[in-house]
Amino acid sequence: MSILQVKNLVHKYITVGDSEEDKQEVTAIDDIDISVEKGEFIAILGKNGSGKSSLAKHINGLLMPTEGAVYVKGMDTRDKRNLLNIRQNAGIVFQNPDNQIVGTIVEEDVAFGPENMGMPVEDIWDRVTSALEGVGMTAYKEASPNHLSGGQKQRIAIAGIMAMEPECIILDEPTAMLDPKGRRHVLSLVKALNREKKITMLMVTHHMEEVLLADRIIVMDHGRIAMDGTPKEVFSKVDEMKQLGLEVPYAAELAWQLRQEGVPLSETITTREELVEELCQFV
């Protein structure tokens, strides 16, 4: 069974200007279908305003469908009785690390989720301990979160979700505010949790190099799904990606530029190693 199912999802909202007549209906998500299998690592791409974040917020019931439905492990997000269960199974990490920390000490912050689930105290500490270990932040368990770097804060936010032992984590541009080192740490953690613990990952991002970690890419445009495939399939369509206002990884872009000049390189090149390998065959 699919862990996530998005069926004919439509999300509309109304913006109101100065006067009543100024009302405008905006369609953020326009009839999309997605099904996600357990253990997949999916990257969601699209320019600002394409509906990526709206989609992410539907998955754990922060936004409700205008039409259609979203199911997490078969549970309908429209049914309020399911929400607590859904949010334990699908946690969200947001872009800004400073907006999602609630505790004054790291371990308290991580304990917030399981505490709210009404777990016995001993179990909570077990979970906090293993979650902090999982993100490599055990040494900081008694630190104050505001003394941590952005990358460390994001790892704490991920630990807070891990402590609920979810099957799925949704990451909405988790590295947008981080420096290169913080970014590498968060990404390798996300990758490890996916590979080792088989946690399903849905990551919204603008960084094409990060996308290469994923098994599957969904490209959104104007609230619809423009492309859905493996990184190789998506990034071989350089022209299409450009038309959607997106980029491709550096190696794919350079290979495309060289192909325009008549160099016979394959369309499936996405990494530096692949590009080097093919170029070296010419000398």
Binding site: T15, G17, G46, K47, N48, G49, Q95, S149, G150, G151, E173, A176, M177, L178, D179, P180, K181, G182, R183, H206, E209, G245, L246, E247, Y250, A251, E253, L254, Q257, L258, E261, V263, R272, E273, L275, V276, L279, C280, F282, V283
Partner: protein
Amino acid sequence: MSIRLEHVDYIYEDNSNQKNYALKDVNLEINPGEFIGIAGHTGSGKSTLIQHFNGLMQPTNGNVYFDGKNIYENDFDLRGLRGKVGICFQYPEHQLFEVTILDDVCFGPMNFGKTREEAEIIAKKALLDVGMSEEMLQKSPFELSGGQKRRVAIAGILAMEPEYFILDEPTAGLDPVGRGQILNLLKRLHETKKMTIIFVSHSMEDVASYVQRMIVMNHGEVLFDGDKREVFSHQKELEEVGLSVPFYRYLAEDLNQRGFTVSKDILTMEEAKEAILKVLRKKR
């Protein structure tokens, strides 16, 4: 004519009264017409540094000079300095507040003593410079997309007509189109208005494509300051402080190791493309 920092320390005390150096013995001179990139890990002192350029922060030790005058002398016009050295902080769109886009951009010049009519002329020019069309001006800034909001916020600073324009991670969180628009705007301001541009960035590729000079901060100190090509030749040291060199430089290194001989100094896509084509043409 320049902004000059001499032996600048910025020291703050934490809870345990321990002295921390956010900046330590920084010596820099920013000359008119330069295009500079500042890189460094989180907490390396980048943001503290740029706030010294227009006197928003005062050094604990050392001095800051603008056109040769100490900006902390009693008779120095600090307010005037802030009109000449504009700083655009991270996520400037969070500071939009007016009812219309035009009003928002008029705020700065009016605050600096312009009449509404004068301010409107300046604001309209600044908004056109950042690519906002005339019919957008009466709209609410809150109806715009992320990239558009960012450009309106930038116009708010351009309307002060600064000589030096300093931006802290101006492209963070933007999609590729939005990012390209901001970077090309900076390039245009530098080329056509001879504005001095300094921007903080975590993208080594962006820095490599746009700037001439690069400053690398590490633990409050200037680790490197010079021509970008010279700075990026210190690959190992940059990696040690949590940074990297541009993708294309790594590519050139890999190619060379495999006997595909190109210059090791390659920094941008265009340079990589040219160098590779040159080798391939020779072979044919």
